[in-house]
């Protein structure tokens, strides 16, 4: 199956948050809390961050530049469906896998909620639900895609900020859009996700540098994750095995020996034997 991708064109997003609600509806996700129990985020942003029952949120960025012009930016956040996915690398339970179509699929039954993916994801996407002890994240609506539908969020998006289709098509569209934007004077317009992390299956069209949207400029699988999975674990295992084997060897070697300390009735000096 060909690679698919979701295209998020932030320049068209008006933060209506239809996608946020559509995602909850399709995935039957309850609210995080009743309104009175939810903390004030300081802006119109709904949740401070993604949450176990919230696979996608619109992040609000408000700033004022030196010409007193307000910049009000929005970004739909969620899983990037990376090719070089840190979450997959650190998930020992193999609950996360990259499907042929590009989806980073989470197998609910395998997930034990250790939260390794949550911390190691360069975007901090997965969140562990303490009640169910499962990490959750955007599924790219794999269930809908399998039935020839677009993801719920994409279907809902009214402004055309979201699109979904074969990855190469989405990339082409993104490139064209960036070109148009640059022609219209948005000099910093750029694509995010084309090369990042091996090419992600969620692609952004941004009007400004990634940092302005809370995205790492150069996302990487954390060095620590690589050290851990590719070096730490084998070395640790080797050390353990070596110690185990040596001890066992010594055990059998010494088993029959009479090495018990004897009483030596002499003053001081060195004792011999073992």
């Amino acid at each position: 199956m060909a690679q698919v991708a979701k295209l998020i064109d932030v320049t068209k997003c008006t933060a209506c948050r239809g996608c946020q609600v559509a995602c909850k509806q399709w995935n039957e996700l309850p609210v995080e809390a009743p309104p009175k129990e939810m903390a004030f985020t300081g802006t119109l942003q709904s949740h401070p961050d993604l949450a176990p029952n919230t696979f996608t949120i619109i992040q609000f960025f408000e700033e004022k530049d030196d010409t007193n012009t307000v910049k009000y930016r929005f970004r739909k956040t969620g899983c990037m469906h990376c090719t070089d996915a840190a979450c997959i690398l650190v998930c020992e339970k193999k609950a996360l896998t990259k499907l042929e179509n590009g989806i980073v699929y989470r197998d609910k039954d395998k997930c034990i909620g250790c939260g390794y993916c949550a911390q190691n994801c360069p975007f901090q996407v997965p969140k562990v639900n303490p009640k169910t002890e499962k990490a959750t994240k955007c599924t790219l609506c794999g269930d809908r895609i399998a039935n020839k539908m677009k993801p719920a969020c994409v279907t809902t998006c009214i402004t055309g900020a979201l699109d979904f289709g074969p990855r190469d098509e989405m990339l082409k569209k993104a490139k064209k859009r960036v070109e148009t934007l640059q022609k219209q004077g948005v000099a910093n317009a750029n694509i995010y996700g084309e090369k990042e992390l091996g090419g992600t299956n969620v692609i952004y069209v941004l009007a400004d540098k990634p940092e302005a949207y809370g995205l790492p400029a150069d996302p990487q699988i954390p060095l620590t994750a690589t050290l851990w999975q590719q070096y730490g674990k084998p070395i640790g295992a080797a050390v353990f095995c070596a110690s185990f084997a040596t001890t066992l060897f010594a055990f059998f070697l010494n088993r029959k020996k009479d090495l018990a300390p004897k009483l030596h009735h002499h003053e001081g000096g060195k004792s011999h034997g073992v």
């Binding site: 008006t14 209506c16 009743p34 309104p35 939810m38 300081g42 402004t159 148009t180 219209q184």
Partner: protein, 796 residues
């Protein structure tokens, strides 16, 4: 909307003023984005920087209630520099018409003002008429007596400097916006309650009309003046006389001064009398005959001097003169301004019937915090209504598109569809009146009211479309309606929705789009006559050929001898060519047949009337023929244009002195603007019962600038007390750069904003902004001034 939603994609520029479209008409942005993709420029003029502003190329922060000062400056700039579309103006407007010599404007007042009645004698606002009763035209638009000259004179006071002082928008920005509008045509205007909820609401919109006429943007794809209606079917409600001064189809409601059909026709004209006859035939059936004025006499008449708006409902109740109120699909205990008065009014009723899908604040008004329910004697009856998802019927969107909505969902519990409730009620009431001979009961007894229980909604739509009563066939178009009672039609603008026996509102062809302009003529049905862009004749020159060769919409086809195009041509008769009088009426709904810069009083003579009745009468706002800037009732600054007439002179406020105090800027230094938001809708009766939406926005907030917050020692997230002359609330402060103080007439003016969607019922509860807002109303429409009042605030 003169145009329609999809047509927004054809615009080269957008003036979004008094609207937060991205939040409150989110769907509009689909088409705005399409236009932007092609390079359209978006201008947003609003008191605060919103999600709509984030899509704009130019944002101008305006002081609430000063839109005419802003538009006036642009109009003046266009006039002074001759930047208008001259061929268009010459052909399509009353620019060259001669005005009466006694017309004038002085110190904030037009000629004819009566200080005692707060109203104008509008006679002097008319034209110089010829012997045929038609207006006289000047040789050139430069004639000192003509409309265009009057317009220029009027707006000559509106320099960029004056405008900047009043509105708080820097001069350079106003000029920049003017230049963009001049250079990028067609430009479309999108507005909503930010323009209308003022004591100068009608004049604000007239301002748009003048601007768009000057720029030649009316009747063209990508142009127009587009009202984005606030509710899914509010266009339908207004079409069907939601407002007290109309009958269905915007026919004016009979007044006590118009006891019979002839006196009514004297003021409304024979053209509309025909539609009234059709309406009466539809309402009274066989009982409506030429002999009895088609039952006109049975209609209750309103007192011409009285105001029957929603404000008066609660005031009348407060005065103890109203016994019972039936509220349907509305929650005035949240949405009305000056809520304390609303509550007081409700407590004085004997009985309140609420028909709604949730037990909202109006239904439970006696639960208002701080109120002792034992002291309230009002009996409350709730009729559980089916939600919009549980019933079939039409919805009419802002673009006048009639669409059928199907439903196979059964109403929850005992709930019933509104139509079913009303039908049951009516039949019960008629039973109770049976046998009465009293004249006032005849409207009910003689009514033609029998609907099948199966497919009742469609039966009503058929009645609206109307019949040829001789053949029994459904009407095909407005043109087929007869003045003699041989046809019936429940709303003339809807004639044709059931043409040829087919319910056209059910059509779903979203592929056919001749011309690629987004007209989709076979998707649903658009009133009137499936015309998608009103006044589209104006997109053509004198010969009936499109002004804009790249975006042709309709045209005169000489070979076929008829008007044709991608939209239904908006002409009185498709076969009357551009050289006939009917081919020269681009604005055929005005008596003059053309559009009016100055809304002169005018009655178009009807040569066919033996008793000299007019054919049609042009409507003129009661508070002036040209938009003039007046300050809001509660304003932080004097009116620099005419200090002696600071506010709309036709305004009567307070109407109830004890309940309607006016705050001064000394006591209440900050301007409050209020509105709805994307996540919660209107009263929130529905949306605040949806947990997913409650999660998005949790409570009422007060948005204020960092500068003001610093001055008052308020931090983002603090609770603040906000109070006006009418009430006080405690809400959370949202300190944001999106709010900025303005410099108005040399002084700093701080503006705060609050959403009004909350109250004390539902799953999400918070303070009601409308406890603060003012219930002064536009003298024409009686819409409330909820966009501008004065408040004070401090850390709670």
């Amino acid at each position: 909307m003169t145009n329609h939603w999809v047509d927004l994609k054809n615009a080269k520029a957008f003036l979004i003023e008094g609207s937060n479209a991205a939040e409150n008409h989110a769907m509009a942005m689909r088409w705005v984005m399409r236009a932007k993709e092609k390079g359209a420029v978006v201008i947003h003029v609003d008191p605060r920087f919103t999600r709509t502003s984030s899509t704009a190329d130019i944002f101008a922060q305006i002081r609430p209630g000063t839109d005419i000062a802003f538009l006036g400056a642009i109009i003046n700039y266009i006039l002074q520099n001759k930047l208008y579309d001259e061929p268009y103006v010459k052909l399509n407007t009353n620019a060259a018409y001669l005005m009466r010599s006694d017309f004038g404007f002085h110190e904030g007042l037009f000629s004819g003002f009566n200080e005692k009645t707060f109203s104008y004698d509008t006679t002097s606002w008319g034209y110089e008429l010829g012997p045929d009763g038609k207006p006289l035209k000047a040789e050139s638009m430069e004639d000192p007596r003509c409309v265009f000259t009057k317009l220029k004179e009027h707006y000559s006071r509106y320099t960029f400097k004056v405008s900047a002082d009043i509105t708080g928008i820097p001069e350079a920005k106003i000029k920049q916006i003017a230049d963009v509008l001049v250079k990028n045509r067609p430009a479309t205007v999108m507005y909503a309650l930010g323009m209308t909820q003022h004591t100068v609401g009608v004049q604000n919109i007239r301002g748009f009309g003048i601007l768009q006429m000057l720029l030649g943007n009316m009747g063209k794809p990508g142009g127009g003046v587009n009202a984005m209606r606030g509710e899914p079917n509010v266009q339908g409600s207004t079409d069907f006389a939601l407002l007290f001064n109309y009958l269905p189809g915007y026919l004016s409601y009979p007044k006590h001064t118009q006891p019979d059909l002839t006196t009514w026709t004297k003021s409304s004209g024979t053209f509309r009398a025909k539609f009234l006859v059709n309406l009466l035939k539809s309402w009274f059936g066989e009982n409506a005959t030429p002999e009895n004025d088609f039952g006109y006499g049975w209609l209750p008449k309103i007192n011409a001097k009285e105001n029957y708006s929603i404000f008066r409902i609660f005031e009348t109740a407060f005065e103890g003169k109203m016994k019972m109120l039936h509220v349907v699909g509305q929650n005035p205990m949240v949405t009305q301004p000056n809520l304390n008065l609303v509550h007081e009014g409700l407590t004085k009723l004997d009985m309140l019937v609420v028909q709604d899908i949730f037990l909202h604040e109006t239904a439970c008004f006696w639960e208002k915090p701080g109120v002792d329910p034992k002291q309230i004697q009002t009996e409350v009856i709730v009729l559980p209504a089916a939600s919009f998802l549980e019933r079939e019927g039409t919805k009419i969107n802002s673009g006048r598109l009639v669409q059928w909505q199907y439903s196979k969902i059964k109403p929850v519990g005992q709930a019933k569809a509104d139509l079913e409730i009303i039908d049951t009620l009516f039949n019960k009431i008629r039973d109770l009146y049976k046998g009465s001979t009293a004249e006032r009961d005849q409207a009910i007894l003689k009514a033609n009211w029998q609907y099948p229980q199966e497919n009742m909604v469609e039966a009503v739509l058929k009645e609206i479309n109307g019949y040829n009563l001789n053949t029994g066939e459904l009407n095909k178009s407005i043109g087929g309606l007869q003045p003699d009672g041989s046809t019936s039609c429940g709303n003339w603008v809807y004639a044709g929705v059931f043409a040829n026996g087919e319910n056209l509102s059910k059509r779903k062809d979203n592929k056919t789009d001749p011309g690629g302009l987004g007209t989709y003529p076979k998707f649903g049905w658009c009133w009137p006559g499936n015309i998608h862009i009103l006044y589209n004749r104006a997109s053509c020159d004198a010969n009936g050929q499109p002004f804009d060769k790249d975006m042709p919409l309709v045209w005169w086809d000489e070979a076929q001898g008829k008007w044709t195009g991608y939209d239904v041509p908006d002409v009185p008769s498709a076969t009357d060519g551009p050289n006939t009088p009917n081919g020269q009426k681009p604005y055929r709904m005005a008596g003059e047949g053309i559009s009016r810069f100055v809304a002169c009083t005018y009655k178009d003579p009807d040569p066919a009337s033996p008793i000299g009745l007019p054919r049609d009468s042009s409507s003129t706002p009661g508070d002036g023929p040209i938009p003039e800037f007046y300050e809001p009732v509660e304003s932080p600054t004097p009116n620099v244009l005419h200090p002696k007439v600071p506010v709309n002179p036709c305004l009567k406020y307070p109407r109830l002195k004890s309940q309607q105090p006016i705050g001064t800027s000394e006591e209440f230094p900050y301007v409050l603007s209020s509105s709805s938001m994307a996540e919660h809708w209107c009263a929130g009766s529905v949306t605040r019962n949806i947990p997913w939406l409650n999660e998005l926005v949790k409570e009422t907030t007060c948005e204020l600038s960092p500068q003001l917050a610093q001055k008052l020692g308020i931090a983002n997230g603090d609770m603040v007390k906000v109070w006006s002359a009418r009430g006080e609330v405690v809400v959370r402060a949202m300190v944001t750069n999106r709010m900025q103080p303005l410099t108005v007439n040399g002084k700093t003016v701080d503006i705060v904003w609050m959403p009004y969607n909350w109250s004390f019922k539902g799953l999400s509860q918070a303070a009601s902004t409308n406890l603060l807002t003012i219930d002064a109303g536009d003298p024409n429409t009686w819409i409330q001034e909820t966009k501008a009042c004065l408040v004070n605030l401090k850390k709670a």
